[in-house]
Amino acid sequence: MDFSLSETQRMLAETTDRLVRDRYGFEDRKKIIAGPDGFSRPMWATFAELGLTGLGIAEEHDGLGGTMADMAVVAETFGRALVVEPFMPTLVLGAGTLGRAGSAAQQAEILPQVAAGTCFLALAHGEPKSRYTLAHVETNATPDGGDFLLTGAKAVVLGGDAADHFLVSARTSGATSEVQGISLFLVPRTAPGLAIRAYPNIDGTRAADLRLDRVRVPASALLGQAGQALPTIAHAIDRAIAYLCAEAVGAMQALNALTLDYLKTRTQFGQPIGAFQVLQHRMVDMEVALEQARSMAILAGDRADDPNARARGRAISAAKVQIGRSGRMIGQSSVQMHGGIGITDEYAGGHYFKRLTLIDRTFGDADHHLARFADAAA
């Protein structure tokens, strides 16, 4: 048993920590969000220089390799700084999935570009009516000659505004919620028939809705076997959840630090408000919630690549429940203890609250994962 960081992880932590301290302050972030892309391409280039865009990509494709636990170290720092660049969509959902399920040709074409920082990816899986049910896929893929024609709609595709390529799920057989029959296709942004409606999310990240109208892709665009993509997608999303858990821990830690600082400096009734026991106890509970969340984020990072899908899903869902509950408690308490300033746009606290709230809504909220955990346990 050893909870200390590896040498690589310590280096990643130091590198990313220095980067966000120097270049990703709250004011820097405001400018980044207000820019034309809603994120910073120069910042992304710096990620690439530091090797971060090669994390989890095999060395033969110019990457650095690395586990989900390594990625989690970066996620935690990015959570502390509320980084908005589409790192998780591109590296975890995109490159991670291509690295596992993509053909040799797909990997050789795309992964070196991702590692070099010149290519963004996104997983287009959720649909207007799917909510958090992974098997719910209405978008269909019809064979046409040697090609497939993709038709349907994809909803709230994270990083979808920036993506150069999408991993699009579509049915090659089966009814809407059937486990079998889902396939994954690599679709370039420029494909005729693909309409992208990009938008900002309320937490400063970005997403897009896609409409596919007979989008033609060759058979070589298929990832893995036709009809067998659901386990690949489920694994990709479990890994993304592990990333989000670590990111949330970073955000919770930063928000607790802000709140504690406020308790010590804000004066009312002639004393720092941190002198009031009712606030002290609430702050202690926020620290306990953070530590419980940290424990479960560690578990999620550790289990994200467990080959036993059921055991993996159970651990990931348990972690997502804990992160959802801790994040909600910490976010709401922080705003309350700050008073009015906590809900102003100019103060960082509210932005952490928003990010934590949206993390709970991403890839299944606490209720969804509580049910998934309970089903796996029974």
Binding site: M1, D2, F3, S4, L5, S6, Q9, A69, L260, L263, K264, G274, A275, Q277, Q280, H281, M283, V284, D285, E287, V288, E291, Q292, A293, R294, S295, M296, I298, L299, G301, D302, A318, V321, Q322, L370, A371, F373, A374, A377, A378
Partner: protein, 398 residues
């Protein structure tokens, strides 16, 4: 990062498990698992078996007959014993006064008392709380005045757990009323058979006799029965309360009770469907199970830090808060699981060897009582509010 036990640690856990399974009296195990009453002999019989194996004092140095185990092995030992249904070790002797005597006792005290603790010859109880001194423990008023070769002790202690079994009590007493309240306290070792001591049972809301009031009426205690120096009792008490806290979350016990909860929820039917298959109850179990998973990992993080040489700090107070909440949730869900059979009160059914006709399912009788009894865990050992006060100062600097 490695969240698994090493091969040696796993082998050790297997060894402990095999030992319990071979040595624990099945009747005693049955009483622990089913929340039945434990007799003094149930505790002591098991204590002697652990002693014979050399495992009764994992936290003591080997020089004093302990095991000198590191934090991880202590945790494994405690967890496996609890999971397998062993009665708890008498904590007041092994985890409280033992380490205090080892650290601060005279050679004569160590020589006399420590072997008697190990063998189970002595049963210690704790004389800290008083009717007027609960969370504000340092305000205690039981006083000891030196008269020749004796301290003369007058006052009252309360919430004294299992004093009815004890032949010795370690007491915090006021020996100097003229100084700051923490500085006028000393720790005395007192024979429970001394003239002037009266023990009166306190019956708790589950109908059980677990705690007592202890009255001291001019009790004469040999002068040498003081621990360390006069006026240092508060320091020793803080040492005692902070010592051996790696097991404070009671993860092993909670895992055992979770297993029990699931068994009961499988046996109970709602319109012919097992309770555990109804969505709302299943999710309640899942929620507490996830809390317990997080608690276990937080606990393991703490003992890993302790093993690598860091002193247990704020984490122990957190574990007390979370651990007690999890234990209370489990007892509440078990009571909830039996529905209307939470109502009947049948204390005879808890007695060892009782052979009567149970009211309702045989597992139902103790559950409501356990729920009521377990409200204690967020009160004793420094209430959860006191834990938050401590964390507020030590961790947050407020």
């Amino acid at each position: 990062m490695d969240l698994t036990y090493s091969d040696e640690e796993r082998a050790f856990a297997d060894e402990v498990r095999a030992f319990v399974q071979a040595e624990l009296d099945p009747a005693v195990r049955d009483r622990v698992l089913n929340h039945k009453r434990l007799s003094k002999e149930d505790y002591l019989g098991w204590h002697r078996k652990l002693h014979a194996k050399g495992w009764v004092a994992p936290n003591w140095p080997t020089a004093y007959g302990g095991c000198s185990w590191n934090a991880v092995n202590r945790f494994i030992h405690e967890e496996v014993l609890a999971e397998e249904g062993a009665p708890p070790i008498v904590a007041f002797s092994i985890n409280m006064i033992g380490p205090v005597l080892i650290a601060f006792g005279s050679d004569a005290q160590k020589h006399y008392y420590l072997p008697r603790i190990l063998s189970g010859k002595d049963w210690w109880c704790q004389g800290f709380s008083e009717p007027g001194s609960g969370s504000d423990l340092a305000s205690l008023r039981t006083k000891a005045v030196l008269d020749g070769d004796h301290w003369v002790v007058t006052g009252q202690k309360t919430w004294t757990t299992l004093a009815q079994h004890a032949n010795l009590i370690f007491c915090l007493v006021r020996t100097d009323a003229s100084v700051k309240k923490q500085e006028g306290i000393s720790m005395l070792l007192i024979d429970m058979n001394s003239p002037g001591i009266t023990v009166r049972p306190i019956i708790t809301i589950d109908g059980e006799h677990e705690v007592n009031e202890v009255f001291f009426d001019d009790v004469r205690v040999p002068k040498d029965n003081i621990v360390g120096e006069p006026g240092k009792g508060w320091t020793y008490a803080k040492f005692l309360l902070s010592h051996e806290r790696s097991g404070i979350a009671r993860v092993g016990q909670a895992k055992r009770e979770l297993r029990r909860l699931k068994e009961i929820a499988k046996a109970e039917l709602v319109d012919g469907v097992p309770l555990i298959e109804t969505r709302s109850f299943r999710e309640k179990i899942a929620a507490v199970e996830i809390e317990l998973m997080a608690l276990e990992l937080t606990n393991l993080r703490m003992i890993a830090a302790e093993k690598s040489g860091q002193a247990p700090g704020a984490e122990a107070n957190m574990l007390k808060i979370k651990g007690s909440e999890v234990q209370q949730s489990l007892t509440e869900l078990m009571m909830e699981a039996v529905g209307p059979y939470a109502l009947p009160f049948d204390p005879d059914a808890l007695e060892p060897g009782w052979n009567g006709e149970p009211i309702g399912p045989d597992y139902a009788a103790p559950l409501a009582g356990t729920y009521f009894n377990f409200r204690k865990v967020s009160i004793y050992g420094g209430s959860n509010e006191i834990q938050r006060n401590i964390l507020s100062k030590s961790l947050l600097g407020l």
